[in-house]
Subunit: 297 residues, 2 copies
Amino acid sequence: MSQETFSAFASKHKQLLEKELRDRVNQLTAPSVIKESMLYSLEAGGKRIRPLLLFATLSAFGENTRKGLQTAAAIEMIHTYSLIHDDLPSMDNDDLRRGKPTNHKVFGDAFAILAGDALLTYSFQLLAETPDDLADASTKLALIKELSKASGAEGMVGGQVADISGEEKDLSLSDLEYIHIHKTGKLLECSVVSGAILAGATEEQIKILAKFAYHLGLAFQIRDDILDLEGIEEKIGKRVGSDEINHKVTYPSLLTLEGAKEALHQHIELAKHQLNAAGLNVELLEAITNLIETRDH
Amino acid sequence: MSQETFSAFASKHKQLLEKELRDRVNQLTAPSVIKESMLYSLEAGGKRIRPLLLFATLSAFGENTRKGLQTAAAIEMIHTYSLIHDDLPSMDNDDLRRGKPTNHKVFGDAFAILAGDALLTYSFQLLAETPDDLADASTKLALIKELSKASGAEGMVGGQVADISGEEKDLSLSDLEYIHIHKTGKLLECSVVSGAILAGATEEQIKILAKFAYHLGLAFQIRDDILDLEGIEEKIGKRVGSDEINHKVTYPSLLTLEGAKEALHQHIELAKHQLNAAGLNVELLEAITNLIETRDH
């Protein structure tokens, strides 16, 4: 697939998603400050990698990507709530995200916590309220199970807990992988699996795609660590070398920079191997995989 | 119904619920500190009024109350997460709840926020994973819709936002009612309506029971305000008169103490009027209503 074709797909679907996020929050009957706080972080931009993975998976099954719009919005709300809570003073204490003041810097800690809570809650409402012509009842329940497991104590929240517990400690490679698989990987995997569920995939297809997403998630994180050493500050939006300054254990710190690049390449190859085994039209998913290997921000 | 019969019902069902809460958290594969933080607040006691309302509603339809155990646990998890987040320094900044240190005092702010997030997320997983012999797919989706609406921006979170926005302001009676209907009332209503949904109630029955719960929720809050003026400190677990010291707008401050007592009585009567119109075996729901009118803690 040409770079142009993928860019057109990504830009069209980001627009669709961002309209869906806006419309869903605007239709809430709630105090205006909470809606503003939710929208502020939903509209802060970002690569929208989770929604794009979901749309690309639907496309791999030959399904209309609009079928996944509401589910993609729900997953992006979960991702956004996690960023709002992670940035809080008692967590990572970040003042800036993607060059903009973080939510609590604008709305205060209380409304930031509550906006996160509201987004988390609303994501499950959106899945439960998916129109019947897009998903039957058992499909909706399968989506809710996937998203709750991926984002709760056994998934993303568990990864964040392990990350905080591991600060300033000597982590092994397997400690580091536990953190990344849970904190980032589970929700990426959920995006792919949710697309497959919506497309009516078989158990076998879901298993293969979950393995693909597992390797993609680790590759994503290794690339992040490499960018922290080699990236261009204006593109990644934070100081290059900040992990080293913060004494953060990373793939390069455990494996050397060369070793990290080798690990990245291996996970990308394993991800592509799964894609080829899926027997689907995987061009868009392959383009996302290539993007994750080479991204500069 | 005799006081003894109701006490036996309440004590038996509190035990069942508390075992369910423990079992559900213990079965999670997650870092132990997050499970400890979740359990600490789930096991902090309390009246368990929401689960009891759900069980009493099932009983009103002649249904086995065990049918509602998982749903009751989900609702109690939502209530518990809201207490953990409300107690945080950036929200109400409370050090004690029911005589015990609040969650963040024991586990720190970060793990308190994450335990709240994990409980909120897990509650939807529990509803989605309700065994098929207790609820069919459309029933489970109806429960998820109810709980997400009752607890999100249009419900409990919206009420908390309005409460914080209204601090130190001159609130009208309708401002005060907005706060209480959303912050407390919606989840109480959800408890009753969820019991009715599980029992296969008609739309008409659900409407009547929701009206019952609406008045019960307001009565609950008015009684709270009265107790703050007239209660015995050891029983209510906080300083008598703390609302006045904190310049909080309450029913007595807007209506006088006598007026608040009159309003309490009116809402109790309206709640009972709905119960009588329901054509169900409402003895347990009536006993809870009487308890809310006369409770001393």
